[in-house]
Amino acid sequence: MNKAHPTGPSHPTGPSHPTGPSHGEQLLRWNRGELSAEEEQAFLEEDNRLQEQFDAPPVDAHSVESSRAVSDDALRNLNGLNEALQQALLPSEQELPTEELWARIQTGIRQSVQPGPDNVVELHSTRRKVILRWVPAASGLAMAAAAMFVLVHFDGESTVEDSVGISASTPPVATPPVATPLVEGAALGSAQEPTHEEAPAAVAAGSPQDGTTVEEVDFGHHAGTVFAVAGDHGQPLAVVWLSDEEELL
């Protein structure tokens, strides 16, 4: 008659002691009932030890208690932190009228987006027609005025030579005549100065377009500047001031 194995069929059968009979041999002998009482006691203890090693590593009772204590401390700390946060946040939370505030906001939004008879202006049909008719017309007039301005501007840049068909290749005078100084007489802009009535209407006296302006200047090797002084009628008169380090005479 075979005895039931104390740990079942999965019990390891490897040698537990390098010397003496192996645990498997002892198992066979235990099954045949050949073990004495002392051998059987030793076999069972050994078998139990092997079973514990197989199923789980040996557990230290002290380490278990230590980890448990640590966990308890951590849990207590977390609980304390939770209570502190709640105590810190609870007053402000109680002071905030959250529900009331959101209710007021939503009420305001609903009131503002619902057009009613008090906040709707009915645009009369005549006014709407006038607006829709004159706004584009005014835009067209503005664009026409802009086109006119551009054309007039370019008009000022064109030359008479272009208009009368004189080419730009007109041969220049080879030797310019040298003017002779006149005797002392009328000052610049006195007797011989034409009156502004003689000037073209486009440059009437005192208009902002009067005066002289510098278009291009080459100072050469000298330092110079360009500015304007006011003339008799306030028109700007161009002045080119150029340094001269060399006195020829």
């Binding site: 503002s112 906040n119 709707v120 645009l123 027609k129 829709l132 835009s139 067209g140 007039l141 664009m143 026409a144 086109a147 006119m148 007039v152 064109s158 030359t159 008479v160 030579e161 208009s163 009368v164 220049p172 310019p176 003017a179 100084p181 006149l182 002392e184 000052a187 610049l188 802009g189 006195s190 011989q192 100065e193 034409p194 003689e198 000037a199 073209p200 486009a202 440059v203 377009q209 510098v214 278009e215 291009e216 200047v217 080459d218 110079g224 002084v229 006011a230 003339g231 008799d232 161009a238 002045v239 080119v240 001031w241 150029l242 340094s243 001269d244 060399e246 006195e247 020829l248 005479l249």
Partner: protein, 176 residues
């Protein structure tokens, strides 16, 4: 209080826009056709043969106390800054010039340089485009180029040449 404007779709905007565009194109084409060079002569067109007169006045200005030439009293610009820093003004010369479009003329200065003037263009608005230079003969030692657009009768000035302890003021103007 917010106001809402109710507008129903209308078909008046599109024809109005088309009419505006037509008006704009018509205005632009009309203006373009009226420009000089496109068939209509300019109001102030001057034939090339027309000579413009003018004058070049040379003034010796000094900061030392002195007298102001009475012939210069009518030149308001010389009484304004920075010319008012000169307490002595004497006119050294006054030269009359005649310029046709494209023609040049030289004016001798008392320091040996020459003012070379050329009437480049008469603009349709009546203004004159004038080129000027001040140099010794065959050299470019002072003012190689100055191009001015001038209203006829309004002068421009070139200042700064040293002469006899003073400064030369060259006033140039061209009349119609």
């Amino acid at each position: 209080m917010k106001h809402w404007i109710k507008c129903s779709p209308t078909n008046t905007a599109v024809p109005t826009l088309v009419a505006s565009a037509v008006f704009m194109v018509f205005s632009a084409s009309t203006l373009a056709a009226a420009q000089p060079g496109n068939g209509s002569p300019p109001v102030n067109a001057s034939p090339r043969a027309t000579a413009h007169t003018g004058e070049v006045v040379v003034i010796l200005a000094k900061e030392e106390a002195g007298t102001v030439d009475p012939t210069l009293a009518s030149m308001t610009a010389l009484r304004r800054p920075p010319f008012d820093s000169f307490r002595s003004l004497s006119r050294l010369s006054r030269s009359e010039i005649q310029l046709g479009v494209g023609q040049e003329q030289d004016v001798l200065l008392p320091n040996g340089r020459r003012v070379r003037l050329k009437l480049e263009q008469v603009l349709p608005n009546g203004k004159l485009r004038i080129r000027a230079s001040i140099n010794r003969p065959d050299k470019k030692d002072y003012l190689p180029l100055l191009q001015v657009v001038a209203t006829p009768g309004d002068p421009f000035f070139v200042v700064g040449q040293s002469h006899q302890g003073g400064t030369l003021i060259v006033g140039i103007k061209v009349t119609p």
